[in-house]
Point group: none
Chain length 252, copies 2
Amino acid sequence: MKAPERFRRIQDLLGQHEFLDLATLARDLKASESTIRRDLDQLAAKGALKRTHGGAMAVEHKTDELNFVVRDTRQADEKDLIGRATAALVENGMSVIIDGGTTTYHVAKHLGGKRIQVITNSLPVANQFSNSSMVETIMCGGFIFPRIGVLLGPLAEESFSKLHADVAIMSAGGITSEGITNSNNLIVAVQQKMMAAASRVILCLDHTKFGRHALSFAAPLEKIHTVITDKATPRDQIAMLQKQRIEVIVAR
Amino acid sequence: MKAPERFRRIQDLLGQHEFLDLATLARDLKASESTIRRDLDQLAAKGALKRTHGGAMAVEHKTDELNFVVRDTRQADEKDLIGRATAALVENGMSVIIDGGTTTYHVAKHLGGKRIQVITNSLPVANQFSNSSMVETIMCGGFIFPRIGVLLGPLAEESFSKLHADVAIMSAGGITSEGITNSNNLIVAVQQKMMAAASRVILCLDHTKFGRHALSFAAPLEKIHTVITDKATPRDQIAMLQKQRIEVIVAR
DNA sequence: TCGGTTTTGGAAGATATTGATTGAATCTGG
DNA sequence: CCAGATTCAATCAATATCTTCCAAAACCGA
């Protein structure tokens, strides 16, 4: 059996069973465990499934930055790891700009105990800190972009023009060697102001964003200082970033 | 059975039974108690359940951090009536400024179906509309005042200076014949801008606010066009307002 | 067919997970 | 409040899985 057929069979099986076992797959598809392992890694890199120890599991599709589910304890593992790793870079006394989007929201969840100043355009992030006495939170103005709960428009852009922060914690809909992109012109406009307002730009991306183009160009890679990603990210993509003198941290 | 599958099974079981027993889980999932213990600890760390001695229990969903506003039970029935009566004054196509505070939050809850533009400095109000396609919501900027979840400071005041609305729906900490007052200078400063930005000012007050003074003076009665209150409000207070040519609506 | 590339299977060492064991902490019925 | 029972956290050895590497096999274009 050839690789493309194995891929198809694996994905078919995932439709029936939520969890797949490596040993079982190797037997059913009459291939070695090494081969199946490689297959699963490739499919995981494409986002068709999620790797687990000793197998794979089905992935919920809407991995998009635009689809916001606050209470998602099931699939949120990688993003949570990215959130934790990113939060570790933030020290007491810093002022931090936090972008809207699901990945950056996970960063906010891990910033709870720190004594910092947060500047954001994201409602979910702001809610996260709304009761905290440790974190002083500033929101920009703007109109609410539904679903993600992010503030956009001239009021938002203007707010960030007036502020300065130590770091900006950003996300994106896609990243390639040409730069980062996002799905919406208004979002991109605010993101540009955010990055311009910060001394250091940290970009949080899960592996599904690599090699993807979204509609609007947000920034070239030169603007990015650090990228935090998960361990399913292809190596060549990481190498590409490092060649651009970007610090890459793989959350595990 | 691999770890992620156990996680899923445990969470599914939690949907059916409120409490789970360690020994039973170990038997049903065919894993040792050590393993199950570790699983439960991890799930508890993610917030998916709560650990108990000898097992685990389901965790109650807290939908919103701003419980002071959202889960407020003081005079909840009266506030709800006031909210309904106030919302009835708002017509499609209007632009509406909504103040922070528990009473005005009840107004927002009744504005759901209308095609309007909302301008607010309140996080709970903004959350209310953040998924609505009917209501276009604009937030001012500012820093978050904890607990109430309201945006204050120069950024907030500036935002309202630039906007105009048909009505402002306001609340207050106290009202007397001298005017309305509130507990905080920063809140009052924003409220003044809000009222200045609107053609008509509607004030929502439950009966406990009448005859009370709070720290900061917000506005004289001349600035108010309409007061919505509940039926427990003393007659003389209502008469006093009417004498100032203020329209008074008693919600019932 | 030939030479080069890709895919595959397997082995060795590194990592991660599991189950059992221990003394300590916690609970429960009197 | 105590004593016995249960449950816990910490640790360790055993097992399972992963990563990395290499050589053999399969594939492919000329």
